[in-house]
């Protein structure tokens, strides 16, 4: 007679070792990784021409715009960047091709003070495709098990420390995002997860949509990716807490 407990035992689900160990390829597959422009690659020019969202120039790559579509890949790009690409400053998402990403490129933010040991996160969908939402929800599944790190998702902004926003803010959602932000008690942090709330991502420039979450509320951490993988979102949440891995450092 099969039972759930027997099933759970035989199944042997392996919970991610992240952040104690680096993210694996299974957790963040190739093109879901941040692209790194390769210095001096003659083909970079073609890659720049192929980018559908203008995320790259010969000089730099803007991870806040890059939708990781890999169209530039055959030319001068490698999708092997560290998953710890989130930053507290929008400008830091721009990486120069002259200085490929490496250890220490992204400094861990100083912890945003005032948070207790555990962190409560409130998710707001400002206009997403649902993939970002599902990647955030995946953090609760046993393969990521965010609770082991003291991260909990709440269903009310009044009990949250962190506002995690996904999707490009639509004018219809903007008031609701603002209301949620105001409902969070201080101290509070805002995470913009995915390129949609950072720059509009694939929808950048659509008339009528906001250019990014920063037009609405101050953003503390930007998480590039389309969508960011669960461990990348985890990294950003830990960053708020000052517990993140340093980029590139294994």
């Amino acid at each position: 007679m099969p039972t759930w407990i027997g099933q759970a035992a035989r199944n042997g689900i392996v919970t991610s070792r992240y952040p104690a160990e680096p993210a694996t390829d299974a957790e963040v597959p190739e093109t879901a990784r941040p692209p790194i422009p390769l210095r001096g690659d003659a083909a970079l020019h073609d890659g720049v021409a192929r980018c559908p969202v203008g995320a790259i120039s010969e000089e730099e790559l803007d991870r806040g715009k890059c939708i990781r579509c890999a169209r530039c890949r055959p030319a001068g790009f490698e999708f092997r960047g560290p998953v710890e690409a989130s930053t507290g400053r929008r400008a830091e998402l721009r990486v120069g091709s002259a200085a490929p990403a490496g250890p220490g490129l992204v400094e861990a933010l100083p912890p945003l003070v005032g948070f207790p040991r555990s962190l409560h996160v409130f998710l707001v969908d400002a206009g997403s495709c649902n993939a970002c939402n599902l990647e955030v929800l995946a953090l609760a599944n046993p393969l990521y098990d965010s609770q082991r790190l003291g991260i909990f998702f709440t269903s009310s902004p009044r009990h949250a420390d962190v506002l995690l926003v996904v999707g490009i803010p639509t004018p219809e959602m903007a008031p609701a995002v603002l209301r949620a932000y105001e409902a969070l008690p201080a101290p509070k942090a805002v995470i913009a997860a995915g390129v949609c709330p950072i720059s509009g991502g694939a929808f950048a420039g659509t008339p009528g949509l906001l250019a990014g979450l920063e037009e609405l509320v101050p953003v503390d951490v930007f998480v590039p990716g389309c969508p960011p993988a669960p461990v990348e979102i985890l990294d950003a949440i830990l960053r708020v807490h000052g517990r993140a891995r340093t980029a590139g450092g294994d």
């Binding site: 093109t31 939708i67 599902l134 393969l143 694939a202």
Partner: protein
């Protein structure tokens, strides 16, 4: 303006140059239906399907403005102590943003009206005038967990409009991607239902199985959600024999694990009792309001685009139609579970019989009219239609009808007389996605 009764239908003629998916000047008062007797699509008026204002504005109005907004499936119920309770758009337990206006006197739901449009990213409008391949980037991000279905339908319609033939191997890759994603979505629905029923161990195991499918997709296509996997005219990823063996091996393990979990769910009285009789849809209602997908098949209607629309490779493969008759959340889940099984079987057949000559050029969709393409695919939640007009490699007009748009009125009706605690079971059992309703 003359009122149109909700049950009125007119034949939908895909060959008429200006007739397909014509939006009414009022708030979207039509839906595209299947005539289940003849197999032909029909237009039915008087049903509110939200369509973004811009879409309406840019669409050529081929229809005279004689349609009127009807109350649709929802009418206001008045009485002592009855009030309207706004639910959403955030913090509603459903992880997407959307809103419902619920008429209630406390516990029982008297009526429920979905208010959509919160997430409208103006995608269809923004694609008009763009090259077909740039449109594809937005379409696959229209509803991330249905990306393969949307991309496949959009591409087939756009390619057929532009007169582009597609290598047979690419059509197989598109079908393969869709079947993988169908399994992911159905397993995800099962996990969410288990979660709602507080079946914690089962939910955790099932979520892990859904995650494994994302990882399979990630390792095969380089992207967990298959973005960029399907490209106009040809694949980014050719599956060679070694890839296919590897995929087959991982799918075998996946299906064995699914069978074990499903058996446990079927043996769980608490789980089955909780979803049985929840949010029922009667057959006549499903036909009247135009339900699609597992919602439709769960109330005894045998319709699956994969069997009805003759495209490669489905026309070469064996597929058993899953059907139930009770129409409730349990019936929908039973249909999904059997579809998971039949998708494994489809994938096995595909991997076994991969075309010898993958470069042979084929038309991706049955022809409609020069410069115009119409494609229908069975997305995880049901029939998905794209209607694209293109010239010089650019999209000039685009219309779309998603499964969630067709099914949301049935969800709203099914919850009538239900209680609030039914809400999540009902929602998950329909597999509705606001992202594709709002687009």
């Amino acid at each position: 303006m003359s009122a149109v009764r909700p049950s009125e239908t007119e034949p939908f003629d895909p060959y008429g140059p200006e007739r397909a998916l014509a939006y009414s000047p009022e708030d979207a008062t039509f839906a595209l239906f299947n005539d289940y007797a003849t197999g032909r699509p029909v237009l039915r008026h008087g049903i509110r399907i939200p369509v973004p204002t811009e879409v309406r504005a840019t669409w050529q109005r081929s229809r005279t403005p004689e349609l009127t907004r009807s109350a649709g499936p929802m009418e206001t119920i008045e009485g002592y102590g009855i009030f309207t309770f706004p639910y959403g758009p955030v913090s509603m337990g459903v992880p997407e943003s959307g809103k419902f206006e619920v008429r209630t006197y406390g516990e029982r739901i008297l009526s429920l009206e979905p208010v959509t449009g919160f997430k409208s990213r103006r995608i269809l409008t923004s694609i008009a005038g763009q090259p077909i391949s740039d449109g594809a980037l937005r379409i696959e991000r229209l509803a991330g967990n249905f990306s393969a279905a949307h991309a496949a339908a959009y591409l087939a319609a756009a390619e057929s409009a532009a007169g582009i033939e597609v290598p047979e191997g690419e059509l197989w890759v598109r079908a393969l991607a869709q079947e993988l994603q169908r399994i992911y979505n159905h397993v995800h629905v099962l996990a969410r239902l288990a979660e709602a029923a507080s079946q914690n161990v089962g939910a955790a195991q099932t979520h892990a199985l859904a995650e494994e499918m994302l990882r399979i997709q990630g390792s095969i296509f380089g992207h967990r959600w298959l973005f960029g996997a399907l490209l106009p005219g040809g694949p980014r990823r050719h599956l060679d024999a070694a890839d296919r063996r590897d995929l087959g091996r991982r799918l075998n393990l996946h299906s064995e694990q699914f069978e074990r979990l499903w058996e446990l769910f079927l043996g769980s009285r608490t789980f089955i009792d909780r979803i049985q009789a929840t949010c029922p849809v009667r057959r006549e209602e499903a036909l009247r309001w135009g339900a699609v997908g597992p919602t439709l098949r769960a109330c005894g209607v045998a319709w699956d685009d994969r069997l009805r629309v003759p495209v490669t490779p489905y026309n070469d493969l064996f597929l058993e139609l899953s059907q139930e008759s009770a129409g409730d959340a349990l019936a929908r889940m039973l249909v999904r579970a059997r579809e998971v099984q039949s998708s494994y079987l489809l994938l096995e057949q595909m991997l076994d019989r991969w075309p010898r000559d993958p470069g042979r050029l084929l038309s991706p969709a049955p022809p409609v009219a020069p410069g115009r393409g119409l494609a229908r695919v069975e997305s995880p939640s049901g029939d998905l239609v794209y209607d694209v007009t293109a010239s010089d490699g650019r999209v000039t007009r685009i219309g779309m009808r998603a499964a969630s748009q067709a099914n949301i009125p049935l969800f709203a009706r099914g919850l009538r007389n239900g209680v609030f605690t039914d809400f999540h079971f009902a929602w998950e059992s329909f597999g509705l996605v606001f992202a594709e309703i709002d687009a």
